[in-house]
Symmetry: C2
Subunit: 197 residues, 2 copies
């Protein structure tokens, strides 16, 4: 596994247009999605509708069901780069949680967590995801709109537009080397978030 | 302003024992507290009861009142190291919010935010503080037990045991260079936080 780079992948990802970051160089059928599992350099590509079964069957990614779930990421001590992946089935859609340990600054691994909808960016805008850590009298919550798997998880993480944890905080939230991440998905309402503060 | 260092300051801070990190080298009356304002190398020291009036009068630190307040930190573009400080009067106590911009990794400034009780560590254990950022369809909440001003804010920040923001996330949460931080203090109940997840 080697991290891919895709600084220019933020545009033209609506309606299945392929970002230039996923293991492929050739021009593609815009209806096809490359394998979205960041763990593997996988040559597979297919339509959005069959991404879930590919991830499940080929990469053995588990699916957790329910409005609120807890994902237990084990062996947090593993050296960077390492990814933890789970699918979350909820509200009639499947979401992909990616937790990545990466050394953005050499010698200082950090943890980055984000959720992607296995669907289009337009569909993704209808949802809000929440990641929650809760341990040792500390609680950290991150809420945001999920990105689409048609966008690039690498750019989300390199931008830092996700839940970011340094190693010492990850240890405070871990139990025996495992990090329990509470995950909740809701449908987003049209409102001005600032009004709630 | 030059950041002070106090890696060994985490012990013996109960009941007014002075940590070795605050601008002073001599042995102290354990009832005296040095100036807790991290903005200034201030030679002042005094009892806990007069810290608030010292911060207010000498350092012009404002006090905001109320269970839930919003602190607007302006000019987030200022170069590191920079501190933003406010006092928060709530539940019969005064708390100190410290927001610090610091380059832990050279060339990569980060923002660190924590709350300290102007009181003893035992008193601090009775409270929970929450810092909340809310903008651009993103929300970040950090909840923890406040530290006592008898402990060292520098060690809290160097440990990363606080709200940590990279620059890009700080920009997403900022409006016109200002960061609105929602602050709430509650009395903590004796409970197992993990049970709530």
């Amino acid at each position: 596994y080697a991290p891919t780079r895709c600084a220019a992948a933020q545009t033209s990802t609506e309606q299945g247009v392929l970002p230039p970051c996923h293991h492929h160089e050739a021009v593609h059928d815009p209806q096809l999605v490359p394998c979205t599992c960041p763990l593997f350099s996988c040559p597979w590509e297919g339509h959005l509708e069959v991404v879930v079964s590919h991830l499940r069957q080929t990469h053995r990614i588990n699916i957790l069901q329910g409005a609120e779930i807890v994902f237990l990421a084990t062996d947090m001590h593993l050296p960077a780069p390492t990814d933890w992946i789970i699918m979350h089935s909820c509200l009639g859609h499947q979401f992909l949680l990616v937790l990545r340990k990466q050394e953005k600054y050499e010698g200082h691994p950090q943890f980055f967590a984000t959720m992607m909808l296995i669907g289009t960016p337009t569909q993704a805008d209808n949802f809000t995801y929440r990641l929650e850590l809760n341990r040792n009298q500390r609680r950290l919550k991150w809420e945001a709109t999920p990105r689409s798997v048609l966008e690039c998880v690498d750019s989300v993480i390199s931008d830092g537009d996700c839940l970011v944890l340094n190693t010492s905080l990850a240890q405070l939230f871990s139990d025996n080397g495992s990090l329990a991440i509470g995950i909740a998905i809701t449908t987003s309402k049209v409102h001005n978030a600032e009004d709630e503060m």
